[in-house]
Amino acid sequence: MKKIKFVIAQDGTVTEEVMGVKGTQCLDLTEKIEEQLGTVKWRKETQEYYQTVTTEENVTLQHDQN
């Protein structure tokens, strides 16, 4: 399931966490919200971002041991 969590701090700064979206879909999805809100100060892509939609079913996630 696609899920976006927003945390709006006391000063109005928004932290956005996108979950369950593969590949660059999540950027398309949130681009509009970010554009409406203001300026993106910081962004971090997580492992899921580097998966591609077509190979999704064959990918086995490698977890760090430490």
């Binding site: 899920k3 945390v7 709006i8 006391q10 000063d11 928004v14 919200i33």
Partner: protein, 133 residues
Amino acid sequence: MSHFSTIKTKIKKRPQLVEALELLQYNVKENQDLVITNPDHAEDHPVVRAEVAVSNDIGFRWNEKTETYDLYSDHSTWDLDVPVSRFIDKVTQQYARMTIHDTISQMHGYSVAEEWEMDDNSIEIVVTNWESK
């Protein structure tokens, strides 16, 4: 998880600014002249037209250069329940909340699933897509 972003909110949309102020229980008036005291010239009271105002001397005016609404106020007569900086923070926070709600309502398949006001005064909004697998 796919990504994290941190976004600095800018007040750019008038309807969401009005909604934010109303949510904070201010009596909003649109297109009002503000009387701002000039501390250097006590006799000089320039009139500033504010698109969105909450009193006779506190309001927001569109800044074409920065493309944001700027706060105009008379600091010598500031009489709101909170100091200026806290007022700006509170308005910006509610503006962000209204902007997220407005944007989500225009995105097909997405809706707000949860919304919480946290102990640290932050606001948490969880949005889901009911069309996704």
